[in-house]
Symmetry: C2
Subunit: 305 residues, 2 copies
C-alpha cells in the first residue's frame, strides 16, 4: 500500500461504485478489519450500510456493550444469539466440527437478519493473510463463517483484500478511528470456542472469559503484544487447604507478529508471569493451574483450535 489516504479515497469510491443504489449488509465483529470496513462503507453509502453484530455467547467480557458504545452513530443491528450457539455446540468435541457448527449457526443468524432489509450486496473484511491461509486450509472460518451463504448477493465487496494487518491499522488511524480499535488485537471468528479444548460448555466459557479478561488487562497496555489471551486446556489436580481438588488448567498466550502468519512468544518477566497466574487462580477459584505458551507459529498456531 503506497499511500494510505489514496487507498481510502479509492476504497470509498470502489464501494460506492460496487453498491450502486443497493443496500449493503456486513457482519461487524468489532475487530479492526470489520470496523475499518464499516467506516469506509458508511462514508461511501451512509445509511445504506447495515452492519450486523451477532453476539454468539462466545464473545469477550464486555464486548457487546463496547460495540454499542463504539458504533453508536452507525445504525447497527445487534443479534443476541448466545443460547442458540451454546445449544448447538453441546456435545461437540472435535475442533473442526466445532468451527463448522459455529460457522453454520453464524450463517443462519446472519442470513435471517440480512434478508430483512432487502440488501443485495455483501461487504466483507477479508485481508490478504486470510485469503492465503484459507487456500492452505489453515483456517476454516473467516468473517461470515468461511462458508457459502445460501442467499444470493449481486456483489461481494472486500475492500481490504490486498492489505496486511499493519496496513489495516494504518488505515484505521488515517480514518481517525479510536486508538482502541486501531490497535485492537485480532479475535477469532468462532470466539472463545477456539480457546477451549474439547466440548464448549457455559461453565467453560464463563471461566475462560474471565481468565481472558485478566490476561488482556495485565498484558495489552504493558507489552503491546500482537495478540494475547487465555485458553482452557482441561482439568488437572490441585490442592485447596488439605484437600485434593480438580481444577481447570488455563494457558496464557502472548505473541509478537507482523502479519499473523508467523509469530513468536513474548518474553514476559518470570515474576510478572507468576503474579498474573496467581491472580487468575485466586480470582477464579475453579482454576488451579496456569501455564505459559512458549511456542512459535509455526509449529503451533496462535489460537488453540
Amino acid at each position: 500500500m503506497v499511500n494510505t489516504q489514496k487507498f481510502i479515497s479509492q476504497a470509498i469510491e470502489d464501494i460506492r461504485t460496487a453498491a450502486g443504489n443497493e443496500k449493503v449488509v456486513m457482519a461487524l465483529s468489532g475487530g479492526v478489519d470489520s470496523s475499518v470496513c464499516a467506516v469506509l462503507a458508511a462514508r461511501a453509502i451512509g445509511d445504506r450500510l447495515i452492519p450486523i453484530y451477532i453476539d454468539t455467547g462466545l464473545m469477550r467480557k464486555g464486548e457487546t456493550e463496547r460495540i454499542k458504545t463504539l458504533f453508536g452513530d452507525i445504525h447497527l443491528l445487534i443479534v443476541e444469539a448466545g443460547d442458540e450457539f451454546l445449544g448447538a455446540l453441546k456435545g461437540v468435541t472435535d475442533p473442526e466440527a466445532k468451527r463448522k457448527v459455529i460457522g453454520e449457526r453464524f450463517i443462519r443468524c446472519f442470513e435471517r437478519e440480512a434478508r430483512k432489509p432487502g440488501a443485495t450486496c455483501l461487504l466483507q473484511g477479508t485481508i490478504y493473510p486470510d485469503r492465503i491461509e484459507s487456500e492452505g486450509g489453515i483456517k476454516s472460518h473467516h468473517n461470515v463463517g468461511g462458508m457459502p451463504l445460501h442467499m444470493e448477493f449481486t456483489k461481494v465487496i472486500e475492500p481490504l483484500r490486498d492489505l496486511y494487518k499493519d496496513e489495516v491499522r494504518e488505515v484505521a488511524g488515517a480514518l481517525g478511528m479510536p486508538k482502541e480499535i486501531q490497535h485492537r488485537m485480532p479475535f477469532p471468528g468462532p470466539g472463545l470456542a477456539v480457546r477451549i479444548i474439547g466440548e464448549v460448555t457455559p461453565e467453560k466459557v464463563a471461566v475462560i472469559r474471565e481468565a481472558n479478561w485478566i490476561a488482556e488487562s495485565e498484558l495489552v497496555e504493558q507489552y503491546h503484544p500482537w495478540q494475547c489471551f487465555a485458553a482452557l486446556l482441561g482439568l488437572g489436580t490441585g490442592v485447596k487447604g488439605d484437600n485434593r481438588i480438580h481444577g481447570w488448567i488455563v494457558a496464557i498466550r502472548a505473541v509478537n507478529s507482523r502479519d499473523g502468519m508467523t509469530a513468536d512468544p513474548l518474553n514476559i518477566p518470570f515474576d510478572e508471569l507468576t503474579r498474573i497466574g496467581s491472580r487468575i487462580t485466586s480470582e477464579i477459584p475453579s482454576v488451579s493451574r496456569v501455564v505459559y505458551d512458549i511456542t512459535a507459529k509455526p509449529p503451533a498456531t496462535i489460537e488453540y483450535e
Copy 2:
C-alpha cells in the same frame, strides 16, 4: 533425624528384628525411597529380601534397563506388565478412576509375584509427607497402590515413615549409593499416566515418554530442580508447511521444593525455555505446542492428575 549413621544402624536393626527368620517382599520402583529401603533391608537380611520391580508400561524411557544395572547385585524380580496395564486403562478418562485401575492392577501383579517366594513380611518406602497427604486425601496412590493387599502379611515394615525427602537423600548418601539415586527426582507411583490428561493410550505414553526424556535431559543437571517432567495436555492446532494439523500440547513442569508439600515453579531463562520447547516439537513431530507451568503448589499439585 538427629544422626544419619545412627538412623541407619537402628533401621537395619529394626528390620532384622521385625523380619525375624522370614522372607520380606517389597515393591522397588527405583526412586530414592524404595531404593534406600532395599539397601537397608539387604544389609539387614541379605537374600531374604525379595524386591519386585513391576514395569507397568508407564515408566520413563530407559527406566527398566537402569534398574537392572543399578540393582544387579541384589536378587531382583522384574515383571513385564505393560500390556496388562495399558489394556486395563483403555477407555478410562477420570483421574481417580485411572489411579484406581493402576493401583488395583499393581496390587494384583505384586500379589501374584509376592506369593511365589512365600514371604510373610512387607517392606514399604512410605515417608512422612506420604502419610500426611494420604490422610488429607491429596494422593490416593502410594507405593503398593495405596490400596489394601488381599494377602496377609505378618508384618508391614516402614523404615522411612518418619523421614522427610531430604533426610532420605542424606541416608542414601551415607549408604554410599550412587549420586544418581541419591538426587533422583520423585516419580509418581502411577507413572506417566498422571502426566496424561484423559485416556491413557500407547500413542500418548510414547509421546510423553520422549518429551519427558528431553525435559529431564535439559533441566536436571542444569538446574537441579526438586522435580521436573513433561505432561500431555491434549490436542491443539498447529501448522506444518502450509497446512493445518492437530498436534499434542505438552507442558513442561519444573519446581523447587523442600518436601513436596509446597513447591514453586522454577525461573528458567526464557531463551532456554523456548529452545527446549523447539527441541520437543522438532524431535517429536506429533507435538505442535509446548507450554511452561507457572503455578505453585498450592493451588496446583506438582503432578497433573
